[in-house]
């Protein structure tokens, strides 16, 4: 069986036919070529696949593409505007918030959700907000700095 879905991805309308078992992350990566959302643990623990669905940060490895029918999805590819990096992207660059970069798209979308809820979070609130995103390179200090950098520029 297949399911017809219509959704908006990074502001653009998308129509597709998917198998019911197609996960949102596979749909984004393989059907739409949006490979920013990474596949890490596949068990909804690592957060590398985090995207925004109707503004909420969610783990796209634990959501069916069929469940996203009618939704508005934002991936890392949808954050920059006219070639200008989003303040969070700029922050991760300026503050060296990444090494290998695998966790970064998920980190940035979780941070984006956090800042939408709480525009000036404390260090502790940033760490709590990013609890569902795991970095295995180096740690979280510069990631927290990157989010603070963005929070200042977005306020």
């Amino acid at each position: 069986m297949t399911v017809s879905i219509q959704l908006e991805v990074n502001g653009k309308p998308v129509q597709a036919t998917v198998e019911p078992r197609r996960l949102l992350v596979h749909f984004l990566r393989e059907d739409l070529g949006l490979t920013g959302a990474n596949i890490g643990c596949e068990t909804s623990l690592c957060g590398a696949c985090t995207v925004l669905v109707d503004g909420d940060a969610v783990k796209s490895c634990t959501m069916l593409a069929a469940q996203a029918d009618g939704a508005s999805v934002t991936t890392i590819e949808g954050l920059a505007r006219n070639g200008d990096l989003h303040p969070l992207q700029e922050g991760f660059w300026e503050k060296h918030g990444l090494q290998c970069g695998y966790c970064t798209p998920g980190m940035i979308l979780s941070a984006n959700y956090l800042l939408a809820q709480n525009p000036s979070p404390s260090d502790e609130e940033i760490r709590e907000g990013l609890k569902g995103n795991i970095c295995r390179c180096t740690g979280y200090h510069n990631i927290v700095e990157a989010v603070k950098y963005a929070a200042e520029r977005m306020s």
Partner: protein, 282 residues
């Protein structure tokens, strides 16, 4: 990691979902999917048909009426954690919901899916048992409610029948002079509770008039501890420690991370701390 193939049906109403359940043998209901999809990816569940009830707005929301708070089964953990109504009437439920997983998980996971899955490491079941909540179920033949203490039957087993949908839970509001707390010893990788302790105490004129303690993660279902020895006391640390040490599980669950004996020990420690925190908030 793909689930096995299945057919997908989306219900537009509770009645339609009940009809689809009748029509398709071994079908599973999916709310947020945060218990079912992981089970399906690991092939621990291979339902031939998934009935998506995630859009049934009639099952969403939190409202207080007549001394209790009704929480629709599709209400997300994020909405429960942020609810002003629950903060005012059942703060321990909001507190426990805020401990679930992480922000992304709380945005999709629902209270109905959580308790229907009945993982022993889940944060919500011990709180519902502590508060004396009732779980409401609907089938083609009508509705019924079951006390939370009877709802959880065994590891991943509940009282939900094959033809039933969990529609909402009713949680009695905590009265004046009652403090409550949920404390969790969290598995560092999974985010599930190794042990979670939910406690409440009522204090009048400096004396305890009622107390409750329910611990999750120790038994297959939430374990109620008899803390009636606290009634009449001034809730000293010693009295609380003695009461919490009454935690006893006949057959505690154990795994590679925490043995049964260890869980019982941690349960006593967290039970004591939860009771003390509840006292300090009363």
């Amino acid at each position: 990691m793909y689930p096995a193939q299945f057919d997908y049906r989306r219900a537009g109403s509770v009645d339609e979902a009940l009809g689809l359940l009748q029509e398709h043998e071994d079908a599973k209901l999916m709310a947020g999917g945060h218990s079912l999809i992981p089970m399906m990816k690991l092939r621990l569940a291979q339902p031939p048909v998934v009935i998506d009830i995630g859009r049934l707005d009639e099952l969403k929301g939190i409202a207080e009426a007549g001394g209790s708070v009704r929480v629709g089964s599709l209400t997300t953990h994020a909405d429960i954690a942020a609810s002003d109504v629950l903060a005012a009437h059942c703060p321990v439920l909001a507190e426990a919901a805020g401990h679930i997983g992480d922000a992304q998980v709380r945005n999709r996971g629902t209270i109905g899916g959580n308790i229907a899955h009945a993982d022993p490491g889940s944060d919500i079941p011990p709180v519902l048992v502590l508060l004396g909540a009732s779980v409401h179920l609907q089938s083609p033949s009508g509705t019924r409610s079951v006390a939370a203490g009877d709802f959880f039957q065994d590891l991943l087993m509940t009282d939900v029948g094959e033809d039933e949908i969990l529609t909402h839970v009713d949680v009695p509001a905590l009265g004046a002079g009652t403090g409550s707390a949920y404390l969790k010893f969290e598995h560092p990788a999974s985010g599930y509770a190794v042990v979670g302790a939910a406690a409440s105490v009522t204090v009048q004129n400096g004396r305890c008039t009622a107390a409750g303690l329910v611990v999750g993660g120790v038994g297959a279902v939430p374990t109620a501890v008899d803390v009636s020895s606290l009634v009449g006391t001034d809730l000293s640390d010693d009295a609380i420690a003695a009461a919490a040490s009454g935690l006893d599980a006949e057959d505690p669950i154990g795994d590679i991370f925490a043995s049964g004996d260890y869980r019982v020990h941690v349960g006593k420690v967290y039970g004591k701390r939860a009771l003390a925190a509840a006292r300090d908030r009363a």
